[in-house]
Subunit: 302 residues, 2 copies
């Protein structure tokens, strides 16, 4: 097993779906990522929170063995996201974003973190992503997430980051926006030309498309009778995906495919409840059972 | 190999996409279905055309070995559909429908057609579908297609047909409309309760979801760099799907899964050009090569 480093956000979310609402719930890209990845590999977390961030949330991650020595507690308020979903759960409507301490985030972490073979740069400022990249010592695989805000407003910095990472994880709208290409297959091929050799496109209820150089792989989403809250699904996918790679300490095609399915497995649990509620009740044997269910749904010989 | 009967439409289409336009092009559900199915099994076609239907179109199907003795040539004009697609090729906008001879369509066909082990009731009036069902002698598998027009306007007749067929093939919007259930998994389970033991949901660029009783199977769509015209993709899928079942003369789970992939293979060719242009240039070895490409994209061990 190899160490897995994530830099991203710890947040407090207000989320409303057709099925209910929560206020001040634990959220953030690094939270979902680290919790999901902790099922497969040792995780190191780099993020910032304000003084208002409940200690219980940090204890929850520490309880999963996540190394929190890269989490700064700064003066000010924790990053807050307020969002809403309609019956089309594929698309979140952001109602409010309060950056708080995230506005001045400069990662501070132990020197040992620079020797992390697997690294996930969650959706933060490409400038921060680039700084961090420069401090890493010969990682085996670095993966990147981003979003529309950075694509439209910070394209140049983002392109510099893209040229230096091994994998990009985005949703289909982001892939199209990044490449200005409506056809998703062309968009993926264009992104491969930017630098990454692995492109993972998350398509919500339609599953995931992964390209490893010129080879495509598809995994469906788990057929759920009720999707409660999709918040964090993408970051949970990334956590499962990177966790499996780090856990195996391998980046070959077969491990990448297994990782994409485990990512889908983990995401399928997250959406069953608000915040990390379902993940915190999750057992390793439930994870393995759902992985077998995916295998069963995907194979030609039933 | 077992005989495969299809009742549906032969049509002349006017289609406009962002990439071009055709007028009076060969179209219709039974056309795409029969041509695609002819790669796998002997096909019997039941439909009606007007005096204006070019003989060359019938010759094309006859050249594929399709038995046309159930095709009536009636006084009047052939069914015509005029439609348009925007850049979102998942949704057709119907601009005009001229029923012509289809308005008074009463299937007439040789008595021998009643002994067809495999039957596809393409998207026509549920009354016609029901009449035809009553004339069949112990078929092994009957599959049904339908559309929003019949779901909203002829629900009672449609439910009677559904209670008597083995398989339903619909797109995701139709599955939701038929069951008034936004969650697709619940919609599929509801349809299974109506009668069919097989439900195939076509999701355009996102591929196909098949439920065989309580077992789900997913196949992706082929990752095409350019989708030229999606007209006929669903009927082509159905042709490949039913063709493989009839060709194997089997309806077990493994054959159903193989059939769903071959259906996707055939549909992926249809959308590469207008009308049946790509299908008429298609070779068996291209079909097999793309089937292998699907296997490659779907399997966990690359």
């Amino acid at each position: 097993m190899a160490d897995l480093l994530v830099v991203g956000t710890l947040a407090l979310d207000n989320v409303k779906t057709p099925f209910g609402a929560v206020d001040d719930a634990l959220g953030g890209s690094a939270t979902y990522f680290a919790y999901a990845a902790s099922f497969f590999a040792p995780v190191r977390l780099v993020a910032v929170v304000g003084r208002d961030f409940p200690q219980a949330h940090l204890d929850l991650l520490a309880g999963r063995g996540v190394d929190l020595s890269g989490v700064q507690v700064a003066e000010g308020r924790t990053f807050r996201w307020t969002g809403e979903y309609g019956y089309d759960l594929n698309e979140a409507k952001t109602l409010d974003t309060q950056l708080g301490v995230l506005a001045d985030f400069r990662p501070v972490f132990p020197e040992s973190f620079c020797q992390s073979p697997f690294v996930f740069l969650a959706n933060v400022d490409p400038g921060i992503q680039l700084d961090l990249l420069q401090r890493l010592e010969r990682p085996r695989l670095v993966a990147l997430d981003t979003m529309n805000y950075w694509i439209t407003g910070h394209r140049e910095a983002l392109q510099r980051v893209l040229a230096r990472v091994d994998a990009l994880l985005v949703n289909d709208a982001e892939a199209r926006m990044l490449t200005e290409e409506p056809n998703l297959v062309k968009a993926v091929r264009t992104i491969l030309g930017y630098g990454p050799r692995v492109v993972v496109v998350k398509r919500g209820e339609y599953g995931v498309l992964m390209a490893v150089r010129d080879r495509f792989f598809f995994t469906p989403a788990y057929p759920l009778e009720s999707v409660f809250d999709p918040t964090g699904a993408g970051d949970t996918f990334a956590g499962g995906f990177m966790g499996v790679l780090a856990g195996a300490d391998r980046v070959d095609d077969a491990t990448l495919r297994r990782a994409a399915v485990y990512g889908s497995v983990m995401a399928s649990f997250t959406v069953e409840d608000f915040s990390l509620s379902r993940l915190t009740r999750l057992t390793q044997s439930e994870v393995e059972a759902r992985f077998r269910a995916f295998q069963e749904m995907m194979r030609l010989e039933p």
